[in-house]
Structure formats: C-alpha cells, structure tokens
C-alpha cells in the first residue's frame, strides 16, 4: 500500500487520510492539513490494488465508518467522514 507522508511542524496527533486521487473534497482536506502545517499521511485508495482497497474498507468499517472519502483517522481512534472542517479542527485542537 502506498502511504504518502507529508511533513508538518504540528505532529501532536497522528493523522491518516484515506482519499481518492480524483476527488476535490479530498484535495481540500489535504490542503487544509498542509496549510495548517499538520504532519499527516494519506493513501489514494483509487490507486491501490483491489486487495489493499478491501483492507482499507475493512479498516474504515471496523472503526464504525463507511467507505466514503475523504475519511480521516486521528490518533488511530477518531474517525471523521468527509471534509468536515469543524470536526477536524476540534480533533486536532486548532
């Protein structure tokens, strides 16, 4: 699985973004994190193999979400579906 790491000064929280390379909301979420200098990782799910895609879907469902993009997982436990700036800000204490 191709996990891309994006450097940032703020690494208080562990942030993982499941995204699609084609989706504009996903791009906005990535940009928002970058603009706020948050360190994060992302996976472009549409570019993954089918096996990895299955794994990701299971991972999202296991955490109570559903495969909708972007999905953010913060500190391995908090799941946010969609680019919900308010929820992301709250979770990252911005």
């Amino acid at each position: 699985m191709n996990v891309v790491k994006v450097a940032g000064k703020n690494n208080k929280h562990k942030v993982l973004v499941y995204a699609l390379s084609t989706c504009a909301w996903c791009k906005m979420a990535k940009k928002f994190l970058k603009d706020n200098d948050i360190e994060y990782e992302y996976v472009d799910v549409d570019l993954c193999s089918q096996e990895d895609h299955e794994k990701i879907r299971n991972d999202i469902e296991k955490r109570g979400g559903h495969a909708s993009f972007p999905t953010l997982i913060i500190d391995d436990k908090k799941l946010i579906t969609g680019f919900r700036k308010d929820l992301i800000k709250e979770a990252l204490e911005l």
Binding site: A24, W25, E54, S68
Partner: protein
C-alpha cells in the same frame, strides 16, 4: 483520449439543461473535471470522481456522472455529492457548500465490494478446486413513468423522471408477457 475542455463543455451543457450551475470555485471545479476525465480514461466512462468505481459498467452505472443521486441531492442539499453541480442559491452565496451524506444505497456499494472480493478469492483459489459461490448480479427491468410514458431499462427507476420530473413513485414496472396461445 477525451480532453478536459470536452468534459467541461459536457458538464456545462448538462447543467444548463437541468437548470443547475457548476461549482463556482474555479480550482475546485477544475479538480472535479480533471477527476472525471481521468476516470473516463481509466474505465471508459466518467464515473463519479468522489466515489470508488469497480471498472465494471453494470456495477458502476448508478455512479456515472451525472449520477442517479444528483437530482435528489441538489433538490435537498443544493449540491451533488461531489459539489460539481449546485443550485442557484449556492452560486449566489446564499447557501454555503458543505459535504453532504452519501445517498448511494449501501447494498450497491456492498455488491461492488462483493464482486471485488470474489475476484480476489478467485485469484487466490485459481490453482485449487473451484468453489461454488452465489454470484452477485444486476437484475435490470423495464420501468415506465406513469405520468409521461418515459421508459427506462435499469435496475431501479430514476429518482426523478428526466422528461417530466415526476417522482420515483410514479414509475411502474412493465410486465412483459409473451402469449403463446395464438
């Protein structure tokens, strides 16, 4: 290969036909159009840039842009799921754009995943004995709009009749009967 300009023109003319607008943020719009272009190149049809497609036309049909969910979503939230098509009040800034919930039924997503899983299992079991598994399938039917007569051959009737704008409830299945007793 389809050009970005062509994708843009298609979306513009479709928006016009239906009385919608395209996303007013040029960068956001460009990303979506580029996503559509990429998907068309990948799959042969412009599947929704914000959803995962399988590459199997029968399973992706409901998420080919403009997807089955656009009309009810624009009516209810002012925007389609991707925010490519929006309502006038959104363009005018009277309603702000927010991500909206996914209307695509979970069964349709699950079916796409099941087929993917079947393929993976098949690959894994290719060398061993063949397993008999129930196959996911798409059952298409003929539907007609009781208001205007529009006929469509799809799994489900549209949310809104594209011709007369009648609601889904107006659609009825066409029962095809072949009488052999001449």
């Amino acid at each position: 290969m389809i050009s970005l300009e062509k994708v843009r023109q298609r979306a513009e003319s479709d928006a016009k036909t239906y009385g919608y607008y395209l996303n007013p943020d040029p960068e956001f719009l460009n990303d979506l159009l580029e996503g559509l272009r990429k998907n068309e190149e990948r799959y042969g049809y412009p599947s929704c840039p914000c959803r995962v497609a399988t590459g199997n036309l029968e399973l992706d049909r409901d998420i080919i842009c403009p997807c089955d969910y656009r009309d009810p979503d624009v009516a209810e939230f002012g925007t389609c799921y991707c925010a490519l098509y929006v309502r006038k009040d959104v363009v005018e800034g009277k309603t702000s754009l927010m991500p909206i919930p996914e209307r695509r039924p979970l069964e349709k997503q699950a079916r796409a995943y099941a087929v993917t899983a079947e393929k993976i299992a098949e690959k894994a079991a290719a060398t061993t004995a063949k397993t008999e598994q129930p196959r996911s399938e798409v059952r298409k039917k003929l539907w007609y709009c009781r208001q205007c007569g529009y006929v469509v051959y799809r799994e489900d009737p549209p949310y809104v009749c594209p011709i007369c704008k009648a609601k889904r409830e107006m659609f009825a299945e066409i029962a095809v009967r072949i009488d052999l007793a001449g």
